[in-house]
């Protein structure tokens, strides 16, 4: 037989555990239930102790007798509460029900404490005998029995409506717990005392609620009402707290016991409440300090998270990432199946990318899983941004709009969890997990961890999805660079030597392909011999727009000018024919401005024909002035025939005169403040530095221009061609 003080241990332990769970998370209904249950257990244990002690000392007190009724009332109420929340909350749970039942039980409790109920307490042959007023006994008993029946019925109804195996199992364990608790309680309080005619089975009686709780506790751990590490954590904390509070409390209790026994019910209640407050203060003080000792456990999850993300983050291709992710998840959680869905831009839906099935072959669905764009499921994820839990689909109000669609989807593929993978607020992938091999439910921590993994790998998956795209872009950029190189190669690399004319040029290609063109076309003695150049064509032009099309058209222009120049001699004819060729390709979608100058070394004559190009700057050495000549004409490629518009002019030049040709890349060149270089500035430089040789002049313009634009990216070609009459 257990020592007589054992129930006191149990009682105090119960109170503290009850206080603890309600203190830890008061909003959790399950914790409220536990609190109730444990306080009842403790109170019952204490009442039994009082009763036994009173029987031994021969000192009857009203106080212990009332524990009977208190215990009965609280048990009834807590059973109802429990049935409301277990295994899942009742629908339509409103405040009214709580107030009604709570109020009723409170009134019963107060009545139970008054002498109305207990008639007489006697010690007969060392046994504690309570004489109750029988009518009142029924008055208390009827609400109790009704509440018990109601709770059993409520849980039975839930069991009937259980939608899955898990819920049915929970209900089963709950019944088992009820039955065991009831059996042990009845055996300890009624059967054994009746058989052996002694009252020493209280310890067994008070263990009734505990034993009854065992199957429920098992259900909690196995089917996840509370995660296992929380249970372990709380048990440790509770044990430590209880022991440190209980030992001093026990000493006080033991020393003051003779004093307790003689008190009437008011005095006893007062001391009881006082003791409760002192103990709870002590517990409140100790609890957080002991809790700190167990804080370290939390870090394990972060470590797992960091490891998983670290391992996956180093992989570049999508298949590698998914494969690694699946094997990591298999190791950590051992699900029966993993399905990974990836957002497919072309198909506009989430399509199954891979599937990994454990040995048990639970999933035998050949059909690939997919989720449509803008479907309810997608919308739900975008809105909630949390892991979808199959278990929560039925009762959780957050799942209201997805209840049917979500259940269908999860059940079709036997999934327990569906984890969203987001990147920049966009849903990129989904990871579905089946039941665990152990059949143990995923804990809240597991779900939390998976949610975090989902957040972290979003960027990894996005990178992988874009990896190929980036490769293609790089390839394209390489092609562009090559094209640019070829295009620049089409431009002259040196100036030709011709009698009476000195040439210089500047060509700075932009960072992207543009359409600037300049050229020197030499003509020999007319028999294909260009060793001694008799005439020279000097061309500058600019294709409208930028990019590959401009670059290609520039190449076309060069080819056609060179071939036309073989048959035509005067600038106007060359441009008119070039226009006809370019018009075929441009059809007014693009155009090209151009100036063609023709230097005849023998005649010492400079002719030109303009086609909508920038002005010609003519520096006259004799007068030290600048003349600006608009070239006139119309750009090439916008009209089929420009013969009527283009005209040919002769520039009269003397020795030392200089001509500067340019493209708009020079005058429109921008600096950091988005200011343009301007034509006026160019003209001023030519005027000021007209005395220099043409090469020096072009170099001076270059220097001025680049000190103006500094580091600003150059988006247009810069082309300058300079001519100096040196004879």
């Amino acid at each position: 037989m257990l020592p007589i003080y054992f129930p006191i241990f149990v009682a105090v332990a119960c109170w503290f555990l009850g206080g603890f769970v309600i203190w830890k998370q008061p909003q959790k209904r399950l914790n409220q239930y536990f609190c109730f249950l444990l306080v009842i257990g403790g109170t019952w244990a204490l009442s039994e102790t009082f009763r036994t002690l009173a029987g031994r000392t021969g000192n009857p007190s009203f106080f212990p007798a009332r524990f009977d009724i208190i215990t009965t009332i609280l048990t009834g109420y807590s059973l109802v509460l429990f049935s409301w929340y277990f295994p899942y909350p009742n629908e339509n749970l409103a405040g009214k029900k709580f107030w009604f039942l709570g109020g009723m039980n409170f009134i019963l409790l107060i009545l139970g404490l008054t002498p109305l109920y207990i008639d007489k307490v006697q010690i007969i042959n060392g046994a504690y005998v309570v004489q109750r007023r029988i009518y009142f006994y029924f008055f208390f008993l009827i609400p109790f029995i009704s509440q018990v029946i109601y709770s059993i019925f409520n849980i039975w109804r839930k069991g009937r409506r259980a939608k899955n195996e898990l819920e049915r199992k929970r209900v089963k364990y709950l019944y088992l717990g009820f039955a065991l608790g009831f059996l042990v309680g009845i055996t300890g309080t009624q059967i054994l005392p009746a058989v052996f005619k002694i009252n020493e089975f209280t310890a067994l009686a008070v263990s009734g609620p505990f034993i009854g709780n065992l199957p429920v506790a098992f259900a909690i751990v196995r089917y996840r009402l509370m995660e296992i590490d929380t249970v372990i954590h709380r048990t440790f904390v509770w044990l430590l707290t209880s022991v440190s509070v209980f030992i001093p409390a026990l000493i006080v209790f033991y020393l003051l016991f003779p004093f307790f026994g003689h008190l009437n019910w008011i005095q006893s209640s007062f001391i009881f409440i006082l003791l409760y407050f002192i103990l709870s203060l002590l517990q409140k003080y100790l609890q957080p300090r002991i809790n700190i000792l167990f804080r370290r456990r939390r870090y394990d999850y972060f470590q797992v998270l960091a490891e998983v993300v670290g391992k996956i983050g180093s992989i570049l291709d999508l298949n590698g990432i998914i494969e690694r992710l699946m094997s990591e998840l298999m190791t950590i959680l051992s699900p029966r199946a993993i399905i990974v869905l990836i957002w497919n831009e072309k198909m506009q839906q989430y399509i199954e990318h891979s599937r990994k099935i454990s040995k048990s072959k639970i999933i035998d669905i050949a059909e690939k899983m997919n989720i449509q764009h803008n479907s309810d499921v997608e919308q739900w994820f975008v809105k909630q941004k949390v892991v979808m839990e199959q278990e929560q689909l039925e009762a959780n109000p957050d799942y209201e709009e997805i209840r049917t669609a979500g259940t269908q989807l999860m059940n079709a593929y036997h999934l327990e969890l569906l984890i969203p993978v987001f990147f920049q607020e966009e849903l990129r992938a989904l990871i579905g997990l089946g039941k665990r091999e152990t059949l143990q439910a995923y804990t809240l921590k597991d779900v939390e961890l998976l949610g975090k993994i989902g957040c972290q790998i979003g960027i990894v998956i996005d990178n992988a999805l874009h990896h190929e795209e980036i490769l293609e872009k790089q390839q394209l950029a390489n092609e562009m660079r090559l094209g640019r190189k070829i295009q620049v190669g089409l431009l002259p690399e040196k100036t030709p030597q011709i009698k009476g004319l000195q040439l210089a040029y500047l060509n700075e290609p932009a960072i992207t392909i543009a359409g600037d063109y300049f050229d020197f076309i030499p003509f020999g003695n007319g028999k294909g011999d260009t060793t001694e150049i008799k005439r020279l064509g000097i061309v500058i032009g600019d294709v409208s727009g930028k990019g590959v099309s401009a670059g290609l058209l520039m190449a076309v222009a060069k080819a056609s000018i060179w071939s036309i120049a073989q048959v035509e001699t005067d600038p106007r004819s060359i441009l008119v024919k070039t226009n006809a060729t370019l018009y075929q390709y441009m059809k007014a979608h693009n155009f090209m401005s151009m100036v063609y100058l023709d230097w005849d070394a023998q005649l010492h004559q400079l002719r030109y024909c303009g086609a909508g190009h920038e002005k010609i700057i003519l520096y006259s050495s004799g007068e030290n002035t600048c003349k600006v000549i608009p070239v006139g004409g119309i750009v090439l490629g916008v009209m089929p025939n420009v013969a009527n518009i283009l005209t040919e002019q002769i520039v009269s030049v003397q020795k030392g005169d200089k001509i500067v040709l340019y493209t708009d890349g020079v005058t429109d060149a921008k600096n950091n403040n988005n200011e343009s270089f301007t034509f006026e500035k160019l003209e001023q430089i030519v005027k000021t530095n007209g005395k220099l040789t043409i090469q020096e002049l072009i170099d001076t313009i270059k220097q001025e221009l680049f000190s103006f634009i500094k580091n600003t990216p150059q988006y247009d070609d810069i082309t300058l061609v300079g001519l100096e009459i040196n004879e």
């Binding site: 409208s544 930028k546 007014a588 979608h589 155009f591 909508g612 920038e614 009209m639």
Partner: protein, 118 residues
């Protein structure tokens, strides 16, 4: 920069066969907005209403891409025996048009009245 095309009014003269639509253009005309510009203006052309005047007073910028768009629309209008005329073009844009010689294709007018009268 945004580009906007809005129908200002429709002028129907008794002695002309068709009505002339006057559109107000706002903002920037460059390679980014030219497609939108063309798509906005083109619907105003139809076989029985093929004369459009564009009020360019509020066009802040027009580059070579903008000009190609205008040439394209002008050519299309001519195919329908209609016209596209520009009114109140800023000096800067006008200078560019003149330099490129595009006044041979794009008709420029100072006022809406003069654009309609001819």
């Amino acid at each position: 920069m945004k580009m906007e095309v809005k129908l200002l009014k429709e002028v129907c003269l008794t002695n002309t066969e068709h009505c002339i639509k006057i559109l107000e253009v706002k903002g920037y005309l460059d390679r980014n907005s030219i497609e939108e510009f063309k798509n906005s203006v083109w619907p105003y052309f139809s076989s029985n209403a093929n004369k459009v005047v564009l009020d360019f007073q509020q066009v802040e910028f027009c580059d070579s891409s903008g000009l190609t768009g205008l040439i394209e629309l002008t050519n299309k209008a001519q195919e329908l025996n209609g016209f596209l005329r520009l009114v109140a073009v800023s000096d800067k844009v006008k200078q560019v048009i003149l330099m490129l010689g595009l006044q041979a294709i794009i008709s420029l007018f100072d006022t809406i009245d003069s654009a309609i009268a001819q």
